[in-house]
Structures are given as C-alpha cells and as structure tokens.
Amino acid sequence: MPKLNGGEIIIESLKKENVDVVFGYPGGAVINLYDALYNSNMKHYLGRHEQGVIHAADGYARSSGKVGVCIATSGPGGTNLVTGLANAQMDSIPLVAFTGQVSSSLIGKDAFQEADITGISLPVTKHNFLVTDIKDLARTIKEAFYIARTGRPGPVLIDLAKDVTQAVAEFDYPERVNLPGYKPTFEGHKLQINKAAKAINDAKKPLLYVGGGAVISGAQAEIRQMVEKAKIPITTTLMALGIYPEDQDLALEMLGMHGTQYANKATLETDLLIAVGARFDDRVTGKLEEFASQADIIQIDIDPAEIGKNLDVEVPIVGDVKRVLKELLPYIEEKENGAWQQRIKELKEKYPLKYEDDDSETIKPQYIMEEIDKYTKGDATIVTEVGQHQMWAAQFHKYKKPRQFITSGGLGTMGYGLPAAIGAQIGQPEEKVVLIAGDGSIQMNIQELGTAQAYNIPIKIIIFNNKYLGMVRQWQEFFFDKRYSSTKIPAPDFVKMGDAYGIWSKSVDKKSELDAALKEAMEHDGPAILDLHIPEEENVYPMVPAGAGLKDMIGG
C-alpha cells in the first residue's frame, strides 16, 4: 500500500469520491493540503472570501447534483464558513467542508488562529468531525461524504489538525462505511403506500404540494406521471420550481407568502393534500390552522422528524420520494377529475399573476424576468440573491426543469447569489447561468467578481437596482407607515465597479434599450453585468402578511 502524507490522502480520497472540483482559500493550517493540491490534477477554484467559497460549493452542488467541496484554513477561515454551512443545512444541500486546525498538541491552548470550529458549527451541520490522528483520516472522509449525500442531505465539516495533514500513513480507502447510528429509510411502508393510493383514488380535489425533497431525489419523471395519470394539479415550493413544467395546465406554480393566488386558493379548496418532500415551512403555510383545512394530508419525507412536525398528517410515509412514488404509481387509477380540473382552470383565468405596466420608459422588474425568459427560451439556470428580486424571479419566469432555479430559501442569505452563480456555472458548464441580484445583496459578496473574472466564468449578472433594501422597505410601507428606517442604501457605480474587475458592464434605465442590452450581455463571451434601474418603490404581489392565513392575500 502506498505511503502518503495527510494532504495527499485527502486528494486521493476525494478522487475516490469522484470529486474533480474543489473551492477554497489557503492559510497556514491547510498549507500541507495546498501543497498536495499543487501536484494534483484536482481543479481548485480560489475564491475571494471563505463565505464566497462555500456558497460557490453550494451552488455547484445544487446545479450538478453532486457533493460540493470546500476548503478553509483554521480560525477566521473556518468562522467565515459558518453562514454557508447554515445556508446549506437549511436547504438540505450536500457539502463537505474541510477546515484546518492548529496542531493537535496545541488544541485548547488559544493557539494562533485557533477557533473551536467543530463546536461553532455543531448546530449548522448535519455532522462534523475533528481528526487528530492520520489513521482516522481516510475513514472519516468516507463517512463524511456518505452522511452528506444520503438520507436528508446536508453539510458535513471535517476539521483537520495541522499535524494530521503533515503525517504520513498508508492510504487505504474503506469500501464501506460502518455507522451503526445512521440508517436512513429509503423504502416507504407498503401499508402506508396502499393507504395513500386509496386516499388519492377517492379524492375529489387532490393537490400535489411538492418541495425540495423531490428535486434532491431526482423524481421529476415520477412527479410528472402522478400529475398526468390522475390529473392532479401541482403547486411547488420555492425550492422545487420547475420539477414539473410551469407552462402546463395543471401547474399552479409557487404557493405561499408570495405564491400565486390560484395555488393558494387551491390549497384552501383541496380535499387531499399530497406533500412530497416539502416541510410545511411558515413562508408556505401562513397561519397553520387555516392551511389546507379542508384536506386530509399525505406526507412523503425521508426525514421522520419532518413528518407531523408542524401539522398533523393522516398518511405519513417515511422514504425517498422517487422510490415511494414508483411504488405508489401502479395503484393510482387513471382519472379525469373533470370538475376539479375545470375549477383549477377557472382559478388560473380569474386570478393570474399580473403587474402594472405602461408605455413609458420605466423598466418594470417583472417585465425584465419575462424578457429573460423569452430571450433564453426559458432554458437558462436562474440564480438569485435574496429580496424582492428573488420573488419576481420566482414568479415571472416559467421554470421547466428541476435545478433550473437556485436560491437561498430557508436561511434567506443575502450574498449567496453571486458566489452560488459562479459555482452553478462550474457545475453546468453548458448552461446559460443568469444571476438575478438586488443592489443590496450583491454588495455582500461583491468581491467574488474577482473569481468570476479570474476564471472567465460567463455568468450574466442582472442587478435589479431599486436603491433600496426593497423587501424590508415593502414591509415598512405596509406595516410601519412608510417609516423607511435604514432601508435606503446608496449603491456604488456598478459599471465602474465591473470595469475595475475587468468585467463587461452596462447600466440601463430606459425600457426601449433593455432588449439590446440584454442581448449584448447574453452574447458577451465572459461574465457580464447589467445594472438595471427599476422603480424604487415597486412591491411584490400577491402577499400573505406573516402569520396570516392564505385566504388573506393582498394584491395581485
């Protein structure tokens, strides 16, 4: 067996896990690992901040479906990862994060750049490890990847004492993991599946409520069959846009706080809600007592703790979405559900998503999304920051395939978008990747423009410039009498900023110039920035005020 140092063992282990891309930022505690990288053919992307590095790994994971890998040094390197870990944990994204740690003999002595990152990251990781003996290294990496990608995925952190990366040992990568306390359930319970089938066949107004778990599971084909076999309308959460093409008759698009009126009204009327890999988040349900109050609920989730966490369910099924649906489908009767289909059609006609526009030169944000949809033939991967622009991006673009919309849902992390777009592009080099950014959010990890430029990552950065922290301003307008406390945020000159980074940039404030600029940006060979001036006080509609029921939507 070959003798390798710790750094080399990590590289070889990564190869065994089919990793060919890592994101990272060097420092003293990981210098041995970086030395091993120097000789390897592993592709390493150097970010500009560890938060950027981990969001890029996260964007990569979401676009490619693989595990994202990132590296940071000890102390501040590790603490800079924390937001990225929490973000991935909330959205169930598989990551393996390596951090350097001071040498094992110095741990606990307040050594230079020491931080207890396993302690700090405990609540924001699926699991974490501290490796102080090289004999444990390969096995730990094997376990970390297994834990990150199986069951309900999530981030796993491996803290590496510096002496471990220096030491030498035989490299022996285990074939299997031995984790007696970790046994996810994949197969659904037969009896429950039969119950679910009966409930679906008996229902008059069934509704599919599909979430991120279906995307993770890769269940788009099974979802489509469910919809089409028994003509069951489908609404998705923000995390599952595109799992079923949104241009279809039975697609109700997003539900919840900023969901469509027809999706929310359908949840009020349905007699059977079929929750598939969705976790009844408060942004979705609003007031729990009123959510789907006419309906029995079937809930399919791989995490038993999600079942009945927020709402009691009649038919719980613990298992992997794809496998459960495969089992379930043969029992589902083909059906027309005519009256319910008719009602859905009516709702869609009566309460469409809409916005006000006129012939002036004003550029409406919703219009931009429609133009991007048109220009890219609905084919681009859309990545967002967090705020109003994120909601318009969700609403006014028809998503047609899973992993086409990449966004920070659970944590709502401003600063996620730019680095995630870079990672998403690296994960899907053939796709057109468009970042929809707020003028506030993009400033949170703006340094990653350097990364985009350095590797010529051809992302298209569309800034919805409203000169406000718009989402918060909207709440202040509605609920605080327009007292705009600290939400006016002067932006820098984004064109000059782009120039400084050597990135093609343009600012547009006239509608008549939008299409040409969009075309130019899209066709530009390399990253591009479009700074689009939109009305300062445009609001996102419809909206369910926080804590209200879905029937109390405003506007739209």
Partner: protein
C-alpha cells in the same frame, strides 16, 4: 408530563455536547441528564428526563435519532422500571440532634457517610419521591450542602432491546 428516555450513544468525542445542544436549540425542556459507561466500553447510556406532551416527546425522539452517534432510544414505561436517584446531603446538627437524624436516615435506608463536630453527611438512593421526602424532613435541621445525581433508570425483567 415527564418522560424518561434511555438513550444509547457511541462514545465519541462531543456526544454529550451534541445532545445537550440539540435540547437547547430545539427549545426542549430537560429535567435531568445522566451519562455513564455500559457493559460495552464503546457505548454509553444516557438517561434523560424530559418535560413535555406527547408531541414534544415525539420530536425529541426523532431529532435525537438524527444525531449520527445516537444508536437507540427507548422511552421507559414508568410502571415497569427501576428508577433511582442518589443524593448526598450535609445536615447541620448539634451533638444532641445526632441520634434523631440517624433515625430518620435509617427509616429511609440512608447511610451516614461522614461525621463532623457540627454536621453529618447522608447518602441516600431511591426514587425521586422518596428522596424528596427525606430532604423535606432534614430541612428542619438546616441543610449545609446538597448534591443530587438526577434519575437513572432501566426496564424491569428484560434486557432493554
């Protein structure tokens, strides 16, 4: 409503922090928590007394299960378990009061484990109720120091599965 959970965990570094952290993070109420080695040196058993209704208990159990190093969780049925606490109490006492205190201790099958000129130390084991009754009686003499382990418990009659 209190529930007693018997939790076997792999003896890995940080396992106690993981469990304690889970309880505070998820806003669960912990009454007491005990850890000790078992017959298998790689496995520890925790006895956790939690406060909450059935729904809370269900979430506690499910969330605990998600911890990678948790092997098994059993809720112990209070009617078929042996449940014990241990307390050490230092009671103030004058020479004259000694025999009276020793008598009380005897009634509770408690031991006198240390005698000082102005105090006695008593060790007692038993159920929570019994120990509370004992403490109550001793309070009249003045309790100088007090420490209590919290509950440990096992099911009767059978090896926990």
């Amino acid at each position: 409503m209190t529930h007693i959970l018997s939790v076997s965990v792999l003896n890995k570094p940080g396992v106690l922090t993981r469990i304690a952290g889970l309880f505070s993070r998820r806003n669960f109420n912990i009454e007491s928590l005990n850890v000790g080695k078992t017959e298998n040196p790689e496995i520890s058993r925790m006895t956790i007394v939690v406060n909450g209704d059935e729904k809370v208990l269900e979430q506690v159990t499910k969330q605990l299960h998600k911890l990678i190093n948790v092997l098994k969780i059993t809720e112990l049925d209070k009617n078929s378990i042996v449940e014990r606490d241990l307390i050490l109490i230092r009671v103030k006492c004058t020479r004259k009061q000694r025999s009276e205190i020793i008598q009380i201790a005897d009634t509770f099958r408690a031991q006198i484990v240390d005698v000082a000129p102005d105090s006695l130390m008593i060790e007692a084991t038993g159920t929570e109720d019994k120990l509370e009754a004992l403490t109550e009686l001793l309070r009249d003499f003045g309790i100088a120091e007090f420490v209590r382990t919290g509950t440990v418990a096992l099911s009767r009659g059978q090896a926990a599965k």
